[in-house]
């Protein structure tokens, strides 16, 4: 005889209903609206002033839009460097902070401070630090090393400064997440490995990393998604310049949607970037969990 559930299904749905309503109102409906708009040519200051249905034309335009593709490629590069360096740094710092040493508490607090700062403020802080002519960084780089550091004029300086700023801001997040993971690991396998004569590297590769893989993956995906949609900090620091050096996809979409008021095209861009993000994360997931090999 089939066992009766403790609670009827409708009670479960009833309890879920408020959450589902919120999700539908704040998530699904706006998404559907953006999807709808993306099929229109709608610029509020166009002569016609009303949305014109253009079908998939906005998406077709995107494929040949050099500015869009350039911004996307730049964002991928930015994401690659920031996330890679943050993961490595965060891993090393978390490993160090697991151990006891004098001043650990103070270091941990200072290290976490950037996390508490709003992105727009981070941008403002870095702008004050790096603005040519006034900021201490260009001043001392010039005085001590003769380096003409100018994020307003030199594209590579601007790009790497945005990377550095992101690392400064978000490495503590990675460190804290890894620290939580490391602290919760059981001691026995590590003690066993030490008894068996495993080196530190071997312990990392064969124990620590596999055991914390779910946390590493979660952190990786959170950081990838964050880096792909970075706007505020970079906007404050460089405004996307010089030229197009730091015009990442978020800034590019913002400029198309707001100052240019090209809502239809901007909506199509947003959706394509969302699709791109999902695909990228999915591919990474498959590769990193080894399922890619199974599929092959």
């Amino acid at each position: 005889m089939a066992q009766r559930p403790i609670w009827p299904a409708r009670v479960g749905w009833g309890l879920l209903a408020p959450t589902l309503c919120i999700l539908i109102i704040t998530g699904l409906l706006p998404f559907l609206y953006v999807l709808y708009i993306s099929f229109f040519d709608w610029n509020v200051f166009a002569a016609q002033g009303v949305p014109l249905f253009v079908g998939e034309n906005n998406y077709r335009r995107l494929v040949f839009d050099d500015d869009f593709l350039g911004a996307l490629w730049r964002t991928v590069q930015f994401t690659f460097w920031t996330v890679t360096i943050e993961l490595v740094l965060g891993f090393i710092l978390a490993q160090s902070l697991v151990k006891n040493f004098v001043g650990r508490g103070i270091f941990r607090t200072i290290h976490t401070l950037p996390l508490m700062v709003a992105p727009i403020v981070v941008g403002a802080i870095w702008r004050l630090l790096t603005i040519p002519g006034f900021g201490p960084i260009p001043h001392y780089l010039q005085q001590w090393f003769g380096v003409d550091y100018n994020i307003g004029r030199i594209a590579t300086h601007a790009f790497w400064t945005t990377v550095l700023m992101d690392i400064w801001h978000w490495t503590p997040f990675v460190t804290l997440t890894f620290l939580g993971a490391f602290s919760s690991l059981p001691r026995e396998p590590f003690e066993q490995a030490q008894v068996d004569g495993a080196s530190t590297l071997q312990i990392h590769f064969y124990l620590t990393i596999p055991m914390t893989m779910p946390i590493i993956l979660t952190t990786l995906f959170i950081r990838i998604m964050d880096a792909l949609r970075t706007v505020d900090e970079v906007w404050m620091l460089t405004g996307g310049g010089p030229g197009s050096a730091t015009r990442y996809i978020g800034i590019h979409i913002w400029r198309v949607v707001f100052p240019k008021t090209d809502y239809g095209y901007g909506a199509a861009m947003s959706l394509l970037v969302l699709y791109f993000t999902i695909v990228l994360c999915w591919l990474l997931f498959i590769v990193m969990t080894g399922k890619f090999k199974q599929i092959q």
């Binding site: 200051f45 166009a46 307003g152 460089t238 310049g241 730091t246 100052p259």
Partner: protein, 482 residues
């Protein structure tokens, strides 16, 4: 085929006609009008750009108005882009969050084309009891004409600021005998503020940069508002540099809405390319912060005494020249007309062109505002003669003809090296932005090419060729100039 002569927009001038005598304003008009209309206790919300005139309105006039009427004014002063972003979204969506908005002169045509604003002339007729006896349209300079519907003449905004972007120089440096001697020795000419571009301006810029370097002081030859990634750089190029080279209306043909020479525009013409080359060349003589400088940073650099000369918005000239808590060059500032290409000044005098930018803005009431009557009182309050002189002295803006002759403004005129006299005498040689209904859209199309030229990603000629081609392609898509 020769490009057709561009049609410059009307330059604002102080109105010459004396204002007709008005009945004396009742001293208690504001309080009585607000009480009779049941507006006491109302709160009106507005949004404006964070600029000296707006800050004065928020910190001084709003409080005075509240005392007089019992109507509270919440004026949000924010960045230029946020101001547009929020006000356009509010008016487009019809949310009615704002009861009045800042309308910069250049966006009025777009707002009118979208029917965003309330017709103030009609509203005043509809509500005669709310018409302040002190508020007279003929008291304003002709700058107010920018805020009238060209077809009907009806008013859609009350000017709250107007100023010119003028040439500003360090008088102390230009009058220093040692410097004058060195310049004479190097160039065989006396050192004077330049009146022409490109060569004369470049020489002075080059000289002061070298002089600063030789004497180990932080001094550069010129300001350049070249934030690569911010529209400020685009605006300096199209509103200040292009007209001084005789290229008007952003190089766009006003009849066909085309920008390229091939289609009758001038944006990629030889003169425009020369102008961009000159302006980018000035970066060599500008402080290192120039490629990150918007209008705010240019004013800050000038106030810090880092540039011998430059192009500065009038709203900043006053504080740079007089506010010792913020400026190191108080009492050392001279002003003049922007240097121009040979023949451009004559064209402007003949009404065939203009030499620089006459900027400003107004407060208007969105069609979707919820407290139109209270906002109408507020707009008239800031447009009455009695508040003008102090406002002008504090923020360098003049919207009433009579303000120029007020003793307070005259006193400030002397302290600013004659800024107000310059504006009064030569204001007619300057012009506001062209009447484009696609102002922001055209800016967003052209600006990235200017940014790339600043960053060295594109050569000046290529940048303008590509910008003109992009405009010619995109404007028809928006329904203009098919």
């Amino acid at each position: 085929m020769a490009a057709p002569t561009p049609t410059p927009v009307t330059a604002p001038t102080p109105t010459a006609t004396p204002a007709p005598k008005q009945p004396p304003a009742a001293a208690d008009f504001w309080g009585r009008a607000a009480a009779e209309a049941g507006l006491r206790g109302t709160t009106i919300r507005g949004i404006t750009e964070s600029i000296p005139p707006s800050k004065y309105a928020a910190s001084v006039l709003a409080k005075e108005f509240e005392q007089a009427t019992g109507i509270k004014v919440e004026l949000e002063t924010t960045s230029w882009d946020q101001m547009y972003d929020k006000s356009i979204k509010d008016m487009e969506a019809g949310t009615g969050i704002y009861d009045f908005v800042y309308i910069e002169q250049d966006i009025i045509y777009a707002y009118l084309s979208r029917n965003f604003l309330t017709n103030l002339t009609a509203l005043l007729k509809e509500k005669p009891k709310l018409a302040a006896p002190d508020f007279r349209i003929d008291a304003f300079t002709s700058f107010i004409n920018y805020f009238k519907d060209p077809k009907t003449g009806d008013l859609y905004g009350v000017p709250m600021e107007a100023f010119i972007k003028c040439y500003v120089y360090r008088k102390d440096l230009f009058e220093d005998p040692k410097i004058k001697e060195a310049y004479q020795k190097q160039y065989g000419q006396p050192l004077t503020p330049p009146t022409t571009v490109p060569d004369q301006y470049r020489r002075v810029a080059e000289f002061f940069t070298k002089w600063g370097k030789d004497n180990k002081i932080e001094l550069y030859g010129t300001t350049v508002q070249a934030a690569s990634g911010h529209p400020a750089s685009f605006y300096e190029f199209v509103e200040t540099i292009l007209p001084s080279f005789g290229v008007y209306n952003w190089g766009i043909n006003m009849e066909t809405w085309k920008a390229s020479v091939a289609n009758g525009g001038q944006l990629n013409g030889a003169r425009a390319k020369e102008a961009l080359t000159f302006w980018l060349d000035m970066l060599k003589y500008a402080p290192p912060e120039a490629p990150s400088s918007t209008w705010d940073e240019v004013a800050a650099s000038s106030a810090a005494g880092r540039a011998a000369q430059g192009w500065i918005y009038g709203e900043n000239v006053v504080w740079i020249a007089t506010d010792s808590s913020r400026s190191k060059v108080v009492g050392k500032v001279g002003v003049g007309l922007p240097p121009t290409y040979p023949g451009v000044l004559e064209e402007a005098r003949a009404g065939k062109g203009y030499i620089g930018y006459y900027d400003g803005g107004a407060f208007g009431i969105p069609r979707t505002a919820k407290n139109k009557e209270a906002a109408l009182l507020w707009l008239q309050y800031i447009g009455q003669p009695s508040v003008q002189p102090k406002w002008a002295a504090a923020a360098g803006r003049v919207v009433h003809t009579a303000t120029f002759d007020d003793p307070l403004v005259r006193e400030m005129d002397a302290k600013t090296g004659g800024y107000f006299t310059l504006m009064k005498t030569y204001g007619n040689l300057f012009a506001g932005a062209p009447p484009f209904p696609f102002h922001a859209q055209a800016r967003e199309i052209v600006a990235p090419f200017i940014y790339k030229a600043i960053a060295g990603e594109l050569k000046p000629g290529d940048a303008l060729d590509q910008a003109a081609a992009a405009l010619d392609k995109e404007l028809p898509r928006l329904g203009y100039g098919r």
